[in-house]
Amino acid sequence: MSVHTVTKEQFKSFVSALIASDRRVVGVQAKGDRFAFDDLKSAQDLRLDYDVTILPPKKYVLPQQENLLTFQVNGQSQSVCHQQKTVLIGVHPYDMAAINQMDMLFSQGEYDVHYMNRRKQITVIACDVARPSPNVFASSMNTATIDHGYDMLVTNIGSSYVVEVATDKGKELLSLMNGARDASQNDLGARKAVWDKNEGWLNQHKLDCKPSFLPKLLEKSYQHPVWEEKARLCYSCGSCNQVCPTCYCFDVQDEVNWDLKTGCRYRAWDGCLLQNFATVAGDHNFRKKRADRFRHRLYRKGKYVPAKIDGQIACVGCGRCITACTAKIANPVEVYNELMKRTEIG
């Protein structure tokens, strides 16, 4: 739509104006010596220089726990829908890519009203990565930069920010940004330089193949020894699922109120690594072995989900699972590279 340049002071005033508006404003902030998305009380607290957040911004489109409906025991039910305009500031390209994937997944087949409702109320201000986190490998996954999904994209070019407005929602916010001027050729050149750099250096773990090759690689890898070798140390703790921007499984539970006549149904994050994730009626668990569950996650990322979303690989290289796994076995690059080494592709 349009590309502008603002000084850092002007951008800060813009954030203050957003906070003063009737919207919920969420931005990346320091949490101890790490970073997290949280409600922004002051523009001062926004940290666009962050490396990675502990949890992805997924928690705003698919919260850890959310009520779906209220019901009467043996009676009617009523859908609960969330209504609040929210602005998310500081979404990195790899996380944007993950939200783009979820948008596809939740709107195809059985349209998920709860997800889509929240999503529609969110305006995303993405920002390019300022420095690599210890485990990021977005460069390997082609997600170090991104060209769609956001409403606004902010790139730090040193002295100022280049702000791209991509949608009507983004344009609506632009009216709060005083002092924005059209970006010059120089500014655009500086932004391109940031992109070029990020496409190379956000790569702490290097995938030995193109991501688009993964579905084919996995076709031949079901019986590979690596699953057992790695899963031996797996706690089935699900941390790798919980922190993943593309994991979208949830569990549904009902709770009754004290009147014992009414109640509510909620959903909460689930994870395919958990012991009883695949346990169905009659207590039959069709992925009983740790290695089966361990393998399942990497098949989801590299083969099963891509089949649903035009071949996009459902690992965006954020590296969070690598950090979160206490047993240090969850690194997708290590596993995929191991498969590359020891699998014959006909």
């Binding site: 949490k31 101890g32 010596d33 790490r34 997290a36 502990i54 949890l55 928690k59 850890q64 726990q65 025991v73 031996r232 140390l233 797996c234 706690y235 089935s236 703790c237 699900g238 941390s239 919980q242 922190v243 539970q253 009902d254 709770e255 009754v256 109120n257 004290w258 014992l260 909460a268 994050w269 994870g271 958990l274 012991q275 009883n276 740790r290 950090t323 979160a324 206490t326 047993a327 240090k328």
Partner: protein
């Protein structure tokens, strides 16, 4: 509909879990609206031999307590173990790691030889009688207790997580203790508490007992990744997870 009669009994414990029930405040009024509490030493003086649901707090450390428990079991339709002491033996099981004479001497000094201080190996409630439902934690989480009771009252299987604490810890976006090379029992401990300890900067002490099928073998090897040893881990497990 007649209200189910509930009796609450305590054995070897600090009664902290009962206190969590008392602390339910508004919810406690709603609770006594839907059940008929017929015996509860901590909150009332009445006693009764007729009840549908027996809630047992504390662990079993004496022969006469085993008999008392067996009688309660025979009278109750549903028996619930309440809190770490009842569900897994809890802190009381630390005793099982030592010679009992030494333990008595150490705790009571010269009085240690008195007959009524004679106790046996600590047992969890399910080591003595059949337990229908377990509400873990030291102390229990009041909201979880309320949720479980309501589920039982409408005949629905209560939801108690069988997965590790890490799930809830991650959902809270807490920085993991292992990122600072510190031990945490979260990966092998049953969730349901909402991970308050790691969120407050502590480790998980394991008060809810083991998660289903914990990978204890892995834990031994994983410790070395953090410059820790199996003994470091075992030491931390003594508090709530002694045999």
């Amino acid at each position: 509909m007649t209200k189910p009669r509930v009796a609450i009994f305590d054995f070897a414990c600090c009664e902290g879990c009962q206190l969590q029930i008392v602390n339910l405040e508004e919810d406690i009024l709603k609770l006594i609206d839907v059940v008929d509490v017929v015996e509860w030493r901590e909150a009332m003086s009445e006693q009764s031999h007729e009840y549908d649901i027996a809630i047992i707090e504390g662990s079993i450390t004496r022969e006469e307590d085993e008999h008392r428990l067996e009688i309660i079991r025979s009278r109750a339709k549903i028996l619930i173990a309440l809190g770490a002491c009842a569900v897994i033996g809890g802190v009381n099981k630390m005793k099982n790691n030592f010679d009992f004479n030494e333990v008595r001497q150490c705790v009571y000094g010269k009085d240690g030889q008195m007959q009524h201080l004679n106790t046996e190996r600590t047992k969890a409630v399910d080591e003595v009688v059949q337990v229908d439902f377990k509400i873990p934690g030291c102390p229990i989480n009041g909201a979880e207790f309320a949720q479980i009771i309501r589920s039982l009252l409408v005949g629905k299987k209560p939801f108690v997580p069988d997965y590790p604490v890490c799930v809830e810890c991650k959902a809270k976006e807490t920085i993991c203790r292992y990122e600072y090379n510190q031990i945490c029992l979260g990966p092998i401990t049953r969730a349901g508490c909402g991970a308050p300890c790691p969120s407050a900067g502590w480790r998980c002490f394991g008060c809810r007992g083991m998660a289903e099928n914990p990978n204890v073998d892995a834990a031994q090897e994983v410790m070395t990744l953090y410059g820790l040893t199996v003994d470091d881990l075992k030491q931390k497990m003594v508090l709530f997870n002694s045999k």
